[in-house]
Every structure is written in structure tokens, then in C-alpha cells.
Symmetry: C3
Subunit: 306 residues, 3 copies
């Protein structure tokens, strides 16, 4: 099994066995996450962010730096030649001469795939369009694996914007590698797309769509809450209508499982009561730490250092 | 005396003896300021700048890099998740997983304090609101100590915007650790706030408020000039009225003390005649160099490397 | 011959023999371009970009990092103190305390020269105003030297915006060190300025101004195409008139020399048919790789490491 030189465009770019092998690497890199290392000394990561992001960009940068590598890039298209009208294919064919690996975030579907087709160095998709965000799915899965010790057999609820939220799409596909029960809770306008549901069912995932929120809270092992992403709505009035229409509060957890864990891709803007933060269920900040480990594993593996 | 793991939120977070100990460390780190070192190899500084800054941000970044560490962060909130509505407390609890220390600049009073309360890694305040900018005060004090050999016994003048300028507030508190005479010169609308004056007087600082500018120039050992900061004025017409109402010119220095030093936190926009630049009194560019040393001392100490 | 501590403001800052010596250094640094090194360990480059740029900024940053150095700076003036009204001279006198070398891009003619006059550390001009972009000229020349094995005796065509395009101005002066025939093709409004033409002729360059585009394509050894830069036009309607008025297509190359090479400073926005990308003539992406080598040579030499 080798990751060297491979792109990571969709969660399905890697098989289940490969994902689990990556998790073992992430486990082993844990000491490096605080102390640093020389594993990728002399290597350069190009972070090309055509959309703003704190978490994902800083996470990749920290991962690269902890491994001893360096980072170049831009955090928004305005400061790049894109403002001059350059195509993504051209940007990639320039940047591949400056770096060893590209991490790309882009507002358009398929942007990462296109970049990978033109690039002679590996490309990691850090979110493109509203459909895929595979490294987020990887870290979500890793969080479950670390916190629950297993993924098979769990009941997992996805709550919130299941239509435009790219993290839930990638996560749903990631979970389809496993034997899980999936509860879907969302406002009617934000239901998960039919074609994704069909893909999931074909993979054997058991999907529960009509439970009450309270039932889901009481029976789930993992609850994954997402932000309603204003920027994904074609129509702002549609956003205003559903904003705040679901919210997980502290009181709602009174009858939940003792070892329930609550995840969130962050940032949150009101859908997760801050009172939950101090409960044993809250794992959304820990999740960002696991994300660092997973991204370190990804960079080190693809660059052939492990 | 240990700095390891401590926050630096206000100049009064450190005692006089601690500040002077830091100065000794800064002295010792002087060779590192040009040659670099491996003192903080593998460590990561997160620079979270919610307001623009050249000097402070580049100074901290250079300090970290000279010490052998690395830097992540953002230079303005637009490129971060803040644009998506994330709270500062959440940002901090994410970033603490990526870095070993946070340097924060923020437009709101109390932001650094709040960040420190939520962060498990040390937080350094790089300016928050119009009240505090403690690392600037530290470097101002260090400049006086380096250039005059002492601080006690000096006559020091603060000229300009004493109401909204956060650097003078922190500096005034820093000077209250010492036996100094403080001359305050400002337009009536920009006088230093009463509660700060009272704090200073209680600490034994002798404050002179009604001298003429020319008298102050002729009797001071240190003159500290500040920019009128447009962005601090609630009302733009108030700004237009006082802009340019005081200015230090070359000619005004004809009867000053031979060893007078002139400081300025920079940037300046007209309140300091460029003709002064080439005089022996001008120390405002040297001041930025001392700032690098002090920030190196701060980072190395708080990260427990010294 | 030493480069240590020198500024690089115009292509004519260096003699022909110095440029060729730099090329030898660039040749030797080729292994470092992929593997990295410790040649500039502990050194800091300050990238001060008062205009957006992907290519030039990332190229310099990658060059510095591959040499083992570090980078600070800003990618646009909005995030810097310039927004507060600071003068370039002041910015430089601050930044020189944080770094070992400055790379400056600025919209105004003469900005790099001014910066160098005030700076105690070396300054490299990464493009200022519409007249000069000497490191681009250096890499253009290096590309020709690498791809053709020589520069003397070649017929070289410059096509496009010869009035506002700063890269062609610097390249033309660079070529005047050599025995070349220069074909100039541009819309009438975008002809090369008379004073530059006179300089070139005085240096012995043979200039051909009235050939047909097709003749030029068939007789040239090197074709250098430039983008019409919207941001250089004082009047937007003038831009709309010439935009798209010339374009190099695949079909136009049917009778070109077998070993013709086509260069472009990039980004392109339509003046170079993507169908050309896969021909042996297309060297514009390779050009960015050569740029990395040349900039590594420049940084290492000026910092006295080679």
C-alpha cells in the first residue's frame, strides 16, 4: 500500500483499508504534533485558497510545519493573479514548479479534480464546491475511531444543512465504507440530495429519515451538527427562513447515551449551545486536533516520507 | 522567576523585576537577531490579526523565525472564519490545537483577556481596543533603558493623541513602575483619560499637564510622539479638526538637551518632521529593532526555552 | 565579482558578465530547487508586495525556502501600515530591522530605487511601475540561454503590449547586452516608447518594426508574448479597444522554425491559444521553473552565501 505521489480528491480516492492505514500513521505522528520533526525538511506545500478558511488552511500549514516542511500560498484569490483573469489550469502549472504538493480550496465543483489533471505534483482537495471536502471527512472519521474505538455498529446522526454542506456529503460517503445506521435530520429545504442517498443505500448504509430530533438524540452514538452555510444558498431569503430553525441545546441532552459524542466541522454560528462545550459529549474542538494528525499523516504519506 | 506558560495581556501582567529580567534576556539574544538560531525549533506561533499591522505582525514573525520557530495565522479577519461569524472563543479553541503560542491583535477592548481565558496555550496581546498594547510599552521602555542606560530620574514627555492611542496608555502604566516626571501634551479633545491619570498619580508618577510645548522640548530627556489615529475616532469630523494641530519640527529642537531621544510607535503621518530623522535624537527606527529583541525575549521565555 | 550586499533595481544594475555568472550559479543550484538546502538557514526575506502577484511572490518565497531561509511580508498594501498612510521610506527603515533582504513590488516608477536609497539591507525590485521588472528579464534571458544554448545571433520577437508591459521593457534592455535581432509587434496604441527604442538602437540592437505577424512567426527563434495589462491603462475604453486585437493561435505556427520557443511572463488571458501548450514550442511554464532557479541564485549571491 503506497500513498506516494497520489492525489486526494474525493474520500473515495482511498479504499477503507487505505484510510485505516492512514489512521495508524496519524496515531504514530501524535508526538510530532507538539514537538515538531524533520520528516519533511526541505519540502514545500502550496496552499491555494480561493475561498477563505481559518481552520482548514491553518491546520494544513501547522501540519506541514510540524513535519519540518515549509508553506507558500495565498489565503484569498484577490491577492493572486486570479484577479488578473488567470485560469486555474495555468495557476497549477506555475505553482507546481515552486512546491512539492498542492492543497486547494475552491468555490467550484470539480476544481480540485481539474487541478489534479494539470498538476505534475500531488493535489489535495481542501474543499471544492458544495459537494466535497474529503480531508474533513477523514478527520471526522478519525475522531470517531479515536473517541469510540470503532466505527462499525454505531448509530450516527447528521443534523443541519445536508443539502449544501460539503462536509456532510464527504462524511456520508466515508461512512458508507462501514456498517453504520445513519439518521438524517434537516429542515425540508435542506434535505440530503436524492442521488447521494441512493449511493449510500447501495453501499449498504441503513438510513433513517423520519425520526424526531429527541429520539435521535437519545439513541445515537455520534451526533454530527453542521452550520447552515449562508454562502451556499443561491437565494438569501431561503437562508433567512431556515436560519436558527434547529439548534442543539444543553437541555436536549438529558436523556442521551452516556458516551454520546457530538461533532461539528466548525465554525458554528448558533446551532450548538455553548453550554454543551463543557460536557463530556463535546468533541468538536478535539476534532480539530485530530484533524492536524490526519493531515500530517496525509502530507507525510503522499510525499513518500513514511 | 519563570515566564513559562504565562499570558501577557497588560503591561501590569509582569512586575518591574520581571520586565527587567526580560530586558537582560533581550540583551543576550542580540546576536540571534541577525544570525538566527534553533532555540524554538519545532515550535509554532499563531499570529491572529483582526486588525491590520505591518510593524507588530512582522516584528513578531521575524522574532519567531530568528529563534528557529515557525509562524501560521492571518493578517486580517476577512480571510478567516470570522467572516463566517465565528466567535473569538471558538477561534482560540481551534487554533490552540495548531500552535504553541498565540499573538492576538483585535479592535475590541478585552479581546486578548477573553482569548487567554479560553486558550490552553499562552496568549500575547499585540494590541486590543484603544487601551492596551503592552508589547509596544515593553519595547518603548527597553529603548529608553538601552539608549539612556536607566529609566529612573528621567523627564519623559508624551505628545499627541493621549486619549485614543493605545501605545501611550500601556507606556504610561509601564512608566509608573519607575520614578519619572511625565509631561503630557495634547489637543484638548485628546487629553489622557482621567482614570488613567489617577492610576498614574497613585503610583507616584509626577505628572505635568500645563507646560508649553517649547518648555517640554527643552527640559525632557525623552519625547514620545504619537500619531493621531483616524481609526480610533468615533466621529471623523473630530479627527479633521485636530489633525496636524501639533507637529514636532527640526527647528523646535534647537534648545533641546544634547542627549534628548525622540521615540514614536510608528507609523507616523506628519507629526514628526523627516528632517529630524538624521539627528542624533531620532531613535524611532532603532526602536523597531529593540522591539524585535524584546519580542524574541518574550517568545523564548514564555515558551520556556530560556 | 561579488554580489554580496548589492541592490538589484534595474536589469542594467548588473553587467553582462555578472548576469552570466549568475546563470552559472542558477545552473548549480538546480538540485536545491527540489531537495532544499541549508544555504540561507537563519536568514529572512521580507516580501513587500504593494501590488498583487502570484507568480513573482510565490517564486521568491519558494526560492528563499528551498535555500533554507524564511520569509515575512505582506501580499497587498491593505493589510499593512500603508493603509494608515505610512511612507515607503519609513516602511523600509522599519522592515530592515526584521530581515536580511527586501523584495519589493510597487505600482509606482522609482519605488524600488527609493527603497534601496533608504534601506541598509539589499533591495530587489520585483516590479515597479510600468517600466521595470528586472528579475523577470533575468529569468526570460535565462530561459533563452537554457533552451537555445546561446543568446547571441538569435532573432527574437516581442508581441503584444510594448508600451505598458514592464516585463518587455526590462527584457529589451537585457537583450541589448547581446547581438540579437528584435522584432516588435503591437497594436499602434501600444508601441514601445521612443526613448527605449533609441536606447536599444544605441546599444547596437537591430530593431524590426514593420514586419507582418506571420513573417515574424516564421523567421523568429524566440517569440515573447505579453498580456495586455488592463491595470496599466489610464483609460479603460482604450483597453477595450485593443483587447483581443492580437492572439497567437496553434494554426499560425504551421510554418515556424522547428526549434522556435514561445515565452510569456504569465498570467495570460487569451493571447496564447491553449492548443499551443502541448507543442514543443511552449516554454512558458518551464520559464517559471527557470525563474525559481534565477531567484535562488540572486538571493544566495546577494546574501553572500555563494
Amino acid at each position: 500500500m503506497t500513498f506516494k505521489g497520489r492525489d486526494f480528491i474525493e474520500i473515495t480516492s482511498f479504499k477503507r483499508s487505505e484510510i485505516e492505514y492512514l489512521f495508524k500513521i496519524a496515531d504514530k505522528l501524535e508526538p510530532v504534533a507538539r514537538k515538531g520533526s524533520d520528516i519533511l525538511k526541505g519540502r514545500i506545500l502550496a496552499c491555494l485558497f480561493f475561498e477563505p478558511s481559518t481552520r482548514t488552511r491553518l491546520s494544513f500549514e501547522a501540519a506541514m510545519l510540524r513535519l519540518g516542511g515549509d508553506v507558500i500560498g495565498f489565503a484569498e484569490p484577490a491577492v493572486s493573479s486570479i484577479a488578473k483573469g488567470e485560469s486555474l489550469a495555468d495557476t497549477v502549472r506555475v505553482v507546481e514548479n515552486y512546491a512539492d504538493i498542492i492543497v486547494l480550496r475552491h468555490p467550484l465543483e470539480g476544481a480540485a479534480k481539474l487541478a489534479a489533471e494539470f498538476s505534475s505534483i500531488p493535489v489535495i482537495n481542501a474543499g471544492s464546491g458544495s459537494l466535497s471536502h474529503p480531508t474533513q471527512a477523514l478527520l471526522d472519521l478519525y475522531t470517531i475511531y479515536r473517541e469510540k474505538g470503532k466505527i462499525d455498529g454505531l448509530k450516527i446522526a447528521l443534523i443541519g444543512d445536508l443539502k449544501y454542506g460539503r462536509t456532510v456529503h464527504s462524511l456520508a460517503y466515508a461512512l458508507s465504507y462501514y456498517d453504520v445506521k445513519l439518521s438524517l435530520i434537516s429542515p425540508p429545504q435542506l434535505k440530503m440530495r436524492r442521488e447521494i442517498l441512493e449511493d449510500l443505500r447501495r453501499s449498504g448504509v441503513k438510513i433513517l429519515e423520519n425520526e424526531s430530533l429527541q429520539d435521535v438524540i437519545e439513541t445515537s452514538d455520534v451526533i454530527y451538527v453542521t452550520r447552515i452555510q449562508k454562502e451556499r444558498f443561491p437565494d438569501p431569503t431561503e437562508y433567512e427562513r431556515v436560519k436558527g430553525s434547529y439548534k442543539l441545546t444543553f437541555d436536549m441532552l438529558s436523556n442521551c447515551k452516556k458516551d454520546l459524542i457530538i461533532l461539528h466541522p466548525l465554525p458554528r454560528v448558533g446551532e450548538l449551545d455553548p453550554k454543551i462545550d463543557s460536557t463530556r459529549h463535546a468533541k468538536y474542538f478535539k476534532q480539530t486536533y485530530y484533524g492536524l494528525l490526519v493531515r500530517m499523516a496525509l502530507l507525510a504519506s503522499i510525499l513518500g516520507a513514511i
